[in-house]
Symmetry: C2
Subunit: 175 residues, 2 copies
């Protein structure tokens, strides 16, 4: 990630270095331990390794498979946003989002998708007709990462991108 | 899926209907139970629910989130192919494929990807520097599904596809 203010001044720096270990970067397994310890999932089930892997893929713009300090802080920011969104949509505090609530939730995040995509999302990320927090976040990560990749290439903002095969695989295989 | 020969004549039909249950189609949780029972992963760890979900996404061309009988049979075909490929590449029978062996394995399957993509694959699908069978299959599913989506749109075989945003999300969000 890019270099910003002296990280030693940052209250999260000590925490980051403890998690990152020798190599100074956080991989998926380290991230899973860390997210479990911080209790960011609250009373929800801790994040699966799979979800942690795609969280890294979301921010890992140089494809190293690990996160530096700035990416780490950025992740906490987006994660907290998604958690608040989840709690807002889960009005009955069941710990799950119902399929019909998912449409509102995705619109809240600023994405415009067709009913067909919405339907595919609900089928893919629900278990027994309910969407749990871990899967909700997995879905948010993918939507954000895919949309970011698309927008970065859609420089004319035409809603259309010309992908070469290798580039298409590169920006989707890790998600 | 499309209709072919009378399924009642097929030795796998009774097996399929038992797994599919009331709705006559196989969802990710039913698939996971079934793959564990059939022992197709052999001495390898059984497939994760996540891998089962993307297996369904691979063949689920009408985006119902479930598999019919023909898709079910097709899956067993590709799965057996990947298993043989895995065993062939894992020469020392350690139950894992080493990163440097992954290049050969992907070439064996007929994909041509850049070193950059190969590197991203190894980082994403390995644990502590080794690729286990479940992750290997997850990678094969994604590569096949993404390549199939791409080729279906690359009608002129130019190695280039023009994606609209919604279509791009539709064919990647479930994988
Ligand atoms: Ca580390
Ligand atoms: Ca069923
Ligand atoms: Ca080996």
């Amino acid at each position: 990630g890019s270099f910003s203010a002296a990280p030693a001044q940052d209250p999260m720096w000590g925490y980051f270095t403890a998690i990152a270990g020798q190599d100074g970067e956080v991989d998926a397994e380290e991230l899973q331990r860390c997210l479990t310890q911080t209790g960011i999932s609250g009373s929800y089930t801790p994040f699966s390794l799979e979800t942690c892997r795609i969280m890294i893929a979301l921010l890992d713009r140089d494809y190293t498979g690990k996160m530096g300090f700035n990416e780490f802080k950025e992740l906490f920011g987006v994660l907290n946003g998604w958690k608040q969104n989840f709690m807002m949509v889960d009005r009955d505090h069941s710990g799950t989002v119902e399929p019909y609530e998912m449409s509102q939730s995705i619109a809240n995040m600023g994405y415009r998708v067709s009913p067909r995509v919405l339907d595919a999302i609900v089928k893919r990320y629900s278990r027994s007709g309910k969407i749990y927090f871990d899967d909700y976040v997995a879905c948010c990560v993918k939507l954000k990462a895919l949309t970011d990749h698309f927008r970065r290439r859609d420089t004319m903002q035409q809603g259309m991108v010309n992908f070469q095969y290798d580039d298409f695989i590169l920006c989707t295989i890790s998600l």
